[in-house]
Structures are given as C-alpha cells and as structure tokens.
Symmetry: C2
Subunit: 283 residues, 2 copies
Amino acid sequence: MRTLKKNSALLSLNTATLGHRSPLEKVVDAAARKGFGSIVPWRRDLEGRSVEMLARHIRDAGLNVNALCRSTYFPQPTPELRKDALEDNKRALETAAILGADCYVLVVGSLTGGSKDLAGARQQVKDGVSELLDTAEKLGVPLALEPLHPMTAGDRSCLNTLGQALNWCDELDPDNRGCLGVAVDVYHLWWDEGLERDIARAGMNNRILGYHVSDWLVPTLDLVTDRGMMGDGVIDLPGIRRWVEQAGYQGSVEVEIFSSENWWQRDEEQVLETCIDRITRLC
Amino acid sequence: MRTLKKNSALLSLNTATLGHRSPLEKVVDAAARKGFGSIVPWRRDLEGRSVEMLARHIRDAGLNVNALCRSTYFPQPTPELRKDALEDNKRALETAAILGADCYVLVVGSLTGGSKDLAGARQQVKDGVSELLDTAEKLGVPLALEPLHPMTAGDRSCLNTLGQALNWCDELDPDNRGCLGVAVDVYHLWWDEGLERDIARAGMNNRILGYHVSDWLVPTLDLVTDRGMMGDGVIDLPGIRRWVEQAGYQGSVEVEIFSSENWWQRDEEQVLETCIDRITRLC
C-alpha cells in the first residue's frame, strides 16, 4: 500500500468536513497549511462567488481539486423539474471544468412527492445520467456515481451498493468512454459482504474515480450527520484501502465527515490537524 | 395475491409492536379479540414464566405461533462466551418447540469487543448456525436467518441482504434439509435493487420462513426504534408481498414495529386496531 504523508496530493479534504462555516479561501489556505494536497469543494461554497477567482486561489495554494460535490437530485415530481435538475447539473459540470475538478460527484436522489416507486426513481436517475454523459465527455469532467448507504434510500439516494453502481455504469456506458465511474465511500459501503469483489470489478474497468474515508460510530445517532473521525468507529480502513489500491486506484484519500454535533462544533484548525493525524496513521 | 382478512392465521402480531408493556397473556387475548390469527412472542415475554402454560394459553386463544424471537448473538469476544451463546440458543430452540413455533428467528449479531473484523464476525455466525442445525432439525424448529438493514452492521447484524442470507443457507445447508431458511422483513430489505430476484431465488429453494411488515419513515430519526406503521412510509408493501407470494410463500404477514416515541406510547388496543386496519387495506 502507498504511504500517506503530509503535504501530498493524496491527502484530500472534502469541505463538508468543516461544516461549511468559513469562506472557501480560508478553508483552502488552512487545508494547505496543515498538509492537505487536494480539496473537494461543494457547490454551496461557490454560491455568489467568481469561480474563476476561486479556482486561481486554489491553484495558488498548491491544491488539486479532486471533485466537485454534488449533483442536484435526478428524480423530481414533474418532467419540468426533472429538466431543470438536468440543466442545473450541466451548469455544475461547467463549474467543475473551470475548477479543474477531476470528477463531478453524483448523489442521485430517490423518491419524491409521496411516490413509492423506487424502480421508477432509479429509471429517472439512469435517464438523467445518460443525458449528462455527452456534456461530461465534452468538458472532460467524468461523472462519479456515489452509492449511498441504504439508510438513505427513502430520500437521498436510490443507488445503494457498489455492485448496483457498476451495473449502472455498464448499462449507461457500455463502451467505457472514460466519462462515467464511481466514488467509493467507506461509510456507505463498508458493511457489504460483496465489497472486495465489487471493488476489484470496479478496478478492472477503471471506474474508481474517488475514495472517501470517515468512520462508522457505534451507536450512530443520526442517519446523516453522525459520521465518525477515522479511528473512532468500527470500519477496517486499511483493509478497504488495500482492496482499492489492489484494484489499481492511484487517486487521493478524501476525508468527508458529516458531524453536526461533534466535529462541526470544533475549531477548524483542530479538526484539520486531527484529520491529517488520523489519515496518516490509521487509514 | 391472497386477500388479508381479519380473524385469519395470515394476520400475525409480533409482540414487540406493543413495546413489551403487558404480560404475554394480555397481549394474546387482545390480539385474538382484534382479529389476529397468529402471534410471534419474544423470549423476554417468557422470562420467569411457565412456557407450557403460556403455550396452552396461546392455543386456547386460537392463535398460531409463527416464530420465536430471537437468537442470542453468535459473535462474542471470547470462545467461552461463544459457547454460552450457542447453549443459550439451543435452550431457546427447546422453548420454541414447546410453543409449537414454526421457526426460530436468528438475529445474528456483529462486531464485539472493539473488533473491526467483519469477516471474522460473519465466520463466527456461520460456525454457530452450523452447530445449531442438528438441534433445530431434531426439534422440528427451523432456523430463520433474518438479514437486518445495513445500518445495523456495526452491532446488531453482520447479515444485511437477502442475497447474503441465501448464500449462507446454500453454504451451511447445501442439501436443504428443511431446517434453515430466511425471514423477509420489508423494513430491512426494501431498498435492495436485487430484492425481487433474491425473493424468487429464496422461493425456489423453499427458504422463506417468515414475512414481516412495517414501513420506512422519511425522515427516520433513530436507527432502531423509529419504524413506521404500514402506510405511513415509503415502502411499496403490496409490491413486495406480490413477489413473496409469487415465490410460493403461503405463510403469515407479521407486523413488527419498533417505535419507542410513537406507537409504543399509544394505547395497546388502538395500536392493534390500526395494525389490523392497515394490514387488511394497505399491505
């Protein structure tokens, strides 16, 4: 396995880890100072700002942009809203291109408007992703399907396992044009008995576009915002990274922690130091 | 699909639905009066009581016993504790036989004692179940492996999908001796894109020993005790029951709702009436 060291592009910070409390420039500067070499901003970090100026700020700080988070949900209660969501995602791809992001993360959405038709929601996602592929290819920003934990299936994501994501890749992009892959987030996938097999499968087709770490806390008190810092939970982090690297993945290790009651309440500098310490020792 | 009517053995009450507030006899009498034809008690309902007398009370009330809930977790931090758990499960099988229960539900457990070795926990479960099979066969009480939602993988269950449960059945009971199957609980499995396929597979081998209903609430506020009453959430209940019946399942529809802040706070008679109404109209 690769050694994860400070001041390397392999160490990536997803800005959600700090709870979106500070302007992006401040987060970028602090991340670079503490030893991160890459960053993953959210679209909310860019709202009302000049993306070109932010892109320059990030470059000047010496950071890569691993990804842009994240898609507007594809399933929507009406055809008009679905079309709006698609246009929104196309604009976000342009933003990602300006940032020089390595990929655009797709959190796909799920049931809306009282529907119980999960198969229908999945079809809406596949239709939407299919329509985005040309734009992604033209802009050179691949789409990273991110399967989310099954506990999000009611509202946030009807895409819930890596195997499912790879099936969708094969279906939507049978020729593997290089513009569709997956984001492997240990928090969402660690429980899956088929994970080692599916990671190997993803590697064979060069589909792994990102690798995200955090930890699963026991007990977990909230379905969205109670993720743990690496080492504080039960996930075998080195074990999963080994699978990912054996599958040929050479990208970064991205810290992404949603933690409204703990880490989002703490001093940002302390959070960043803890992240760096835990990634380099425990991931 | 079969019609679900009051006063039929197809309508089954898992006693956890009432929050274990009243003695089992009272629950049995109320369930029978309201129109349930079957019941699934928990071992905690039997503690310190004469199982023979309770069995007679249930029979006299005209109820079937669909299952006994549930196993002591198989993974344990030491070999001694694993052996204790196994003995405990053998005694529970004897209890299930006295009750005339159609099966013994296995909620299998997961990581213990700070371990992060999920594959090891799974092996401990398979070893334990394997050792229980002869007792189950001798007593005529089949074991029902219940896959639990992946959000329980850290502590309650390292068995998380129906496909995984069926793989374990094939591995542990390749000759299909009739003493190992699965419990299909919509709450745990509804999100799985492979569910229809896996239910059909379970049916082909006659592995479906139970079918449990409740609903997935959006939002869900607790990982264990925030299940919804049928109809209050997003699960397509008739859709899944159709798959189960097409797979040849002829057993009951069991209501099992963990709801510490809602249904467990309500009057028991009202809860039972609501269950009957919802099963017969919406499941």
